[in-house]
Subunit: 674 residues, 2 copies
């Protein structure tokens, strides 16, 4: 048995932030950069030279699709044109939270990838989807529409929850959408396809939608890192609250939990799980090492207000001014037991759970999404989007109360923004082209005409019933971003969505740069268990994916799939990642296990003999590890984040052709459940 | 002859600003305020308690209709999605102008007035026009669409150029539109109808458009304060540059210059005039007491780029990606003599003229409008709006260079914003509902789809030719405002358009509050000339309109029309205002002339006898004034700004019915041409 000495390297992260903070002025972003120029980690930053301040906690509120128009529609209706959101309008408002630093600005949201779901041959795409935009702030990397925290060449990019976990912070992820939807997904997973909700994709068994499946190379049964839901369980945020419970009824087809539903897997992995039960949700309390996974509806959560479908010009005028009504199915309504699960309730619960978690002594990162502002805007539903904006506003208010109560308001950076702008426009009168709705504000009595005109095709039923069923699209305008708390000034002026990643990462002291992230794997260690069947990997927090290869004198005995950047073993950040080994004989000798971080290139090589001399052997688990080793070398990264992009793209094209034929050595089972 | 002692009062303006600056925090605007609540001067402020810093100069750049979408469309095309405007993106950008204070925010732009051009019975109107929005920042008062620096009850509200003149600053007004268009007009005039361009309205004689006429009560021949162009000459900004020269060919029908064209009037009043001559414009230099009026095109100025009409979905797809081409008629193209008049050229000229003016030792206020961003957006013309945004951006760049050269960059507050948002949206693909254009950026190669869908009716020719002729409308979303320089932080967070008035007024130390403005008339003085035919009024800078009444023992001899708030004598702010008297007899006795500021209520009463004992008499002008007096009393304002609103509205309705029958005592002639 050989033991390797661990080599510690000083992390560059803290030093890099301090250096940046000292630089006096901003260089404006350069014109005419190509998509290839912009595809690298951090390459699209506009304010790379602007420093930050340290915050203990960061809370990021995302109104999905909540452009300035959506904010104004909701304010006009709910509070009057002169009115004020109680929460949303306090963030970024000087003086509104005492002497807390406050700033507002705009950011650009364009994406890459040819305006389509294709990663190859990227060009600049002026209109982003939620996955590319979410990836921007979650990872600091511009990518293509449909990408979930991977870059334009499919390389996984570390996200804020992973980086926060690497630093020992408490983490949370709250949404009103399916928890696998793009905005929450970018903090949980790395996926080449945003519909890769579960092993069977975005399906609940009721229909077979081939377009909403995982790409083959990412499936565990093909040696991939698994679906979004499976990776959510690997990432193991301390608090996860949202919808999409039905996708956890899917069954894993590969890996340690093959044959079990994702709910079963979650429970076996020690999570506190809640499935569609608001009362049980209300009773949740912090339990040590038992993260919360509360999914309160089968799909997206019901909205606060009932649908108010937009209509053609004549029909809108005939219908006249309307008001919005509360949806009985909304989870913010009280149950028989007096409980509710509005976004404000969910956010308050998340904060309670995070604060009770000892890790929050180091601080926490929490993302809260009001998801259905976007979804109702797509559906040309003015009341729907207004109610969801209200729900987000109240979640912000609840957060301010909670932080004030715990004395953390001054230590917490709160950011409110959106992922992209959307369709709805406030116009003077129902337009001829678009469909619209006239709403009368119950607060100031103003008639507000909300118009929707971006759909790719006219609803075929619109003539008959006057209604439009939606299909409206995102828009590409720069967006409002507002912040209060330490480091808030970094959102001022014109920034890019990727700058938001750096704003948050700097405030929390996370590893923001590629170098700092690579350094998170400097302390990688691999331990082979006593019977040679499993290897436990720790300290590879600078990687999202590991590869391994087990050899003896005769050649390769077992190896991970390395055909694509999402093939291999998903790293459980800040935890132990398990690799099942195959081919070690009790009396064998001269085994070499090489484990490589696919992002950092950091490698651990462990050489060992079979367990014949171990106290335990044969079918029982030994009580003594065979071998362990630590990082001593860095492999030139074949699939590294930025260095090998062009090669990666060429390689990928070839790899995808042969992926189906590969023999996958990764198999079920590992000796540590997390 | 009786002479009254002048009573000086300490101006409350400076003290008020200092008090506000000392208040620590902001109260958020209150929900549910009614239109009546919001109609008062300053009543719609969101950050009334936030102080400012002193700036020597303020330059306000308005991109008409330049919402975030219009900014992004232009940036995407001209600079690439990741690119940066050289001027526009520097304002509000921390670090971009050294250590100058910088901030960005959003402001609300709603107006009052029942969504129509009616002033009476105002309700809140979510979508503003350019006149109500311009009035907001020019005067601090929310008003109705169509109002030019008057409130919802038609009361004139002092604008920034008037207030800057009252403080002895140099002033300028630059636009690419007709100089009488709403955005420049709000700084020149007070009008109940935005089409009241000249005595004959917005007409050039080629057609008789009854809807584009002045309202009768405002016409000089009816005892009114006159059209926008006539008031422009009264206001007498030091520099006025724009289009709309043809309206100066109209002939005054009342007042001192009745029977003369407005060009003749301008020349008689000592202005340097330029009519459609770029070379003469380029040669302009500062001359003492000879303000510049340079109108370089008959109507709105030609745009930089040729029209690119939007088309229906199928036609847009068939046409494919387009690029924009330069318009040969654009004044930014060089003349044979190598001169040009882009907005950047006009702005540079304005700055040169202002800096050469000794008044600029006290500072200057300059408004610069890129007007046709709005106009081309109305026309669904993507190239048009992009070129105009470019022109504005370059005007900002030129300003930064000019201020840097004169060492005034640190002393100048520069604000960039818009008056309202507009139609254009960046979408992923040509939509079915709206008309659109695909542009390919020559800088980064991205295809940008710009969509327009707010028109009230579908272009009847659209089916035949695929083109749409426009008619798109404004939108009501909150807007970006950005600022650099002393006091810039006041634009941070959520503000209202009326807050911008206070931001500018505080920075320059102008009279911002009603009280401070009223105090500007504390030093009002009236002098009756030697032959009793004229009165010269000075020091009524807190008023836009004066009334007068001349009596003897037998009753009223002459009086101004006081039937509406825009009836009476227009104050020439910071100058001498002349009133023609009628009925004073050489040997008469016991005359009483009362002059009242219609906004301040300040009154001067002069009692005098006829000129029989004067050195000069009869038909020759005497060398000794008959009498003079100063303010000793304040009349409860019947038509005051806020105190008498409801009464004003009732009074107005009655007054309008009888206005036509009134005998107007105001007649031509005065003894001082300004």
């Amino acid at each position: 048995m050989k033991q390797h000495k661990m080599v510690r390297m000083v992390s560059a992260a803290t030093a890099a932030v301090a250096l940046l903070a000292a630089l006096p002025s901003a260089a404006l972003a350069q014109d005419g950069k190509s998509a290839a120029d912009l595809a690298g980690h951090g390459a699209a930053q506009r304010i790379a030279t602007i420093g930050s301040a340290n915050a203990k906690n960061v809370i990021l509120f995302i109104g999905d699709g909540m452009g300035d128009s959506e904010i104004t529609v909701a304010r006009d209706y709910l509070h009057g044109s002169n009115g004020t959101f109680d929460g949303l309008d306090k963030i970024g408002q000087p003086g509104a939270l005492g002497d807390t630093s406050a700033a507002t600005g705009q950011y650009t949201t364009y994406s890459l990838g040819n305006g389509s779901k294709d990663a190859n041959n990227p060009v600049i795409t002026p209109v982003t989807d939620s996955s590319a935009s979410g990836s921007s702030w979650a990872t600091g990397t511009k990518t293509y529409n449909n990408a979930v925290s991977i870059d334009s060449y499919l390389n996984p990019q570390l996200n804020l929850i992973e980086l926060a976990k690497a630093k020992g912070l408490a983490t949370g992820n709250v949404t009103t959408s399916e928890i696998q939807d793009a905005t929450p997904a970018v903090q949980e997973s790395h996926s080449t396809e945003r519909s890769c909700y579960g092993p069977q994709g975005k399906t609940d068994g009721s229909k077979n939608d081939a377009g909403k499946r995982c790409k083959a190379e990412q499936l565990k049964e093909n040696g991939g890192i698994g679906s979004i839901s499976e990776q959510l369980l690997d990432t193991r945020a301390d608090v996860t609250i949202g919808g999409g419970s039905k996708y956890f009824n899917q069954t894993a087809q590969g890996g340690e939990y093959a044959g079990k539903t994702l709910w079963e897997q979650a429970q076996e992995r020690g999570l506190q799980t809640i499935e569609n039960d608001v009362d049980a949700f209300a009773d949740l309390e912090y339990q040590e090492d038992a993260p919360v996974l509360a999914l309160l509806s089968d799909g997206n959560m019901p909205t606060q207000f009932n649908n108010m479908p937009a209509m053609s010009q004549a029909a809108t005028i005939a219908r006249g001014a309307q008001t919005c009504s509360t949806n009985e199915a909304w989870l913010g309504n009280k149950t028989a037991n007096g409980n509710s699960a509005s976004l404000a309730d969910m956010t308050s619960k998340a904060l309670d759970l995070l604060k009770a978690n000892p890790k929050s002594d180091n601080g926490f990162f929490l993302q809260v999404e009001g998801a259905s502002i976007d979804k109702r805007d797509h559906a040309a539903d003015a009341c729907g989007q207004i109610g969801e904006t209200d729900d987000l506003d109240k979640a912000i208010s609840a957060t301010l109360s909670s932080l004030e109560a715990s004395g953390e308001l001054q230590d917490t950076l709160i950011i409110v923004t959106a992922d992209h702008a959307h369709t709805s426009q406030i116009v003077a009168a129902p337009p001829a082209y678009a469909v619209s709705t006239i709403l009368q504000s119950p607060v100031d009595g103003a008639n507000i005409v909300v118009s929707y005109g971006t759909a790719g095709q006219i609803d075929p039923d619109a003539d008959a019933d006057g209604y439009n069923d939606g299909g409206m699209g995102h828009t590409g305008t720069q967006l409002r971003i507002a912040a209060s708390g330490p480091g808030a000034s970094r959102v001022s002026g014109l920034t890019d969505q990727t700058d938001n990643f750096y704003t948050i990462a700097y405030a929390l002291g996370l590893a923001a740069t590629t170098e700092a992230q690579n350094a998170l794997s400097d302390n990688g260690e691999v331990t082979v268990n006593a019977d040679g069947t499993k290897a436990a990997v720790t300290g590879f927090d600078g990687d999202a994916v590991l590869s391994y290869e087990l050899k003896d004198a005769n050649g390769v005995l077992a190896a991970s799939n390395t055909s694509t950047p999402v093939s291999g073993v998903r790293v459980a950040t800040g935890q132990t990642t398990n690799i099942a080994l195959e081919g070690v004989q009790t009396n064998g000798t001269g085994y070499t296990l090489t484990v490589t971080g696919q992002q950092s290139g950091k490698q651990v090589v462990v050489t060992f003999d079979g367990p014949a001399d171990n106290a335990g052997n044969g079918s029982t688990t030994g009580d003594k590890e065979l071998a362990s080793g630590s990082v001593k070398q860095t492999k030139p990264a074949k699939l590294g984040r930025t260095g090998a992009m062009v090669m990666g793209a060429v390689f990928l094209a070839a790899a995808l052709m042969i992926a189906g034929a590969l023999i996958v050595a990764y198999r079920r089972g590992a000796f540590n459940k997390r």
